[in-house]
């Protein structure tokens, strides 16, 4: 799409705001509508827009497929790891009430709130990575005749 100047400029303007909105939906999910799943798909759609306008090769340089594939597993591990951490602290699996820390006292949330943030982060990472990976595998197919 080298000649579609309007498309290139408009998407260049839009993509940062799409990604920013994804982060807003991700980290504001405990106050407003949204959460990990919504943030993940919005984040991925920003990458897909980039891929459609600037080509698959450029997108692969921004987000290497190997990194994306590792992130797919990372998200699930963060989610399940939060549950296991609660178990190690003496609670039930995914019982966030016991998560305590002494980092940045007063800024980072504790307990249930912290658990929800971590879990939603895990969901967001997995969803975004899966969507981008599916985009790569669909866009990478070429016509064989």
């Amino acid at each position: 799409m080298k000649h579609h100047t309007i498309l290139r400029i408009v998407s260049k303007l839009l993509i940062p705001y799409i990604l920013l909105f994804a982060f807003y939906v991700q980290f504001h999910g405990d106050y407003g509508p949204g959460g990990g799943f919504q943030a993940g798909v919005i984040f991925a759609s920003g990458f897909i827009l980039y891929g459609l306008v600037f080509g698959l090769k450029q997108t692969r340089r921004v987000a290497p497929p190997a990194v994306i594939e590792a992130l797919i597993a990372c998200g699930v591990l963060i989610f399940a790891g939060t549950g296991v951490a609660a178990m190690l602290l003496g609670g039930n699996f995914l019982d966030y009430g016991l998560l305590e820390h002494h980092l940045l006292e007063g800024y980072l949330p504790h307990g249930q709130h912290l658990g929800i943030l971590l879990v939603e982060l895990g969901v967001g990472i997995t969803v975004a990575a899966v969507m981008i990976a599916i985009f790569y595998s669909f866009a990478g197919r070429e016509l064989k005749r």
Binding site: L94, G97, I116, Y136
Partner: protein, 197 residues
């Protein structure tokens, strides 16, 4: 907004949904049909906003209109752009569809009215979630203290379900990767084909 205004919007959005659906079914040019499915998703997202479900609306707009439209276009690029003309229409399928539809609509008569505060779903565990006091197995009350109750339910009270959903997405992604991933990204496709054959 008054009652009548909301009803007018409801009827407008729902009839637009129905019209779009019928148009998609009747269309033979698949490219336009894919575009119309995107439109259908946007209408669906508006319908979710009307039903006070902004979370679902965001998902519908991003996945339905954005990602799945792209996936269908990518598939179309590999196949035909026109649907095959179906000349033989069977009566039995029409009867099956009509009977199923009638049964489904008949089933809705037994359901509580939309927004009815006495509906079973609002009397079971929802009051505990809203009061933020769910008796936990360890004896004390589990209090989440998160303003958005949807997030509290999804991520904390129903954490197991959400973990399961994430694993489902993970599995789906692994499945797509195993089927479609470009195994030799550095080789050109033609070379890879020659090596295989």
């Amino acid at each position: 907004m008054t009652e009548i205004e909301t009803q007018v919007i409801d009827i407008l959005v729902l009839s637009l949904l129905a019209i779009t659906a019928v148009t998609i079914v009747r269309m033979r040019e698949l490219w336009s049909a894919v575009m119309l499915t995107g439109l259908f998703s946007f209408l669906g997202a508006s319908w979710m906003v009307i039903l006070d479900a902004p979370d679902v609306a965001i998902t519908e707009a991003a996945v339905g209109a954005g990602i799945s439209t792209f996936l269908m276009l990518a598939t179309l690029a590999l196949t035909n752009r026109e649907a095959k003309l179906v000349t033989k229409r069977s009566r039995i399928s029409l009867v099956v569809v009509v009977v199923t539809g009638v049964i489904l609509v008949f089933g809705t008569f037994d359901m509580p009215r939309y927004g009815d505060p006495n509906a079973p779903i609002h009397l079971h565990v929802a009051p505990q979630y809203l009061a933020d006091e769910v008796p936990s197995t360890t004896g004390h009350h589990a209090e989440v203290h998160v303003p958005n109750v949807v997030t509290a339910v999804l991520a904390s009270y129903r954490g197991y379900d959400t973990l399961g959903e994430t694993v489902v997405i993970f599995t789906a992604g692994i499945g797509v990767l195993m089927l479609l991933r470009d195994r030799n990204p550095k080789k050109s496709p033609s070379k890879a084909d020659k090596a295989r054959s």
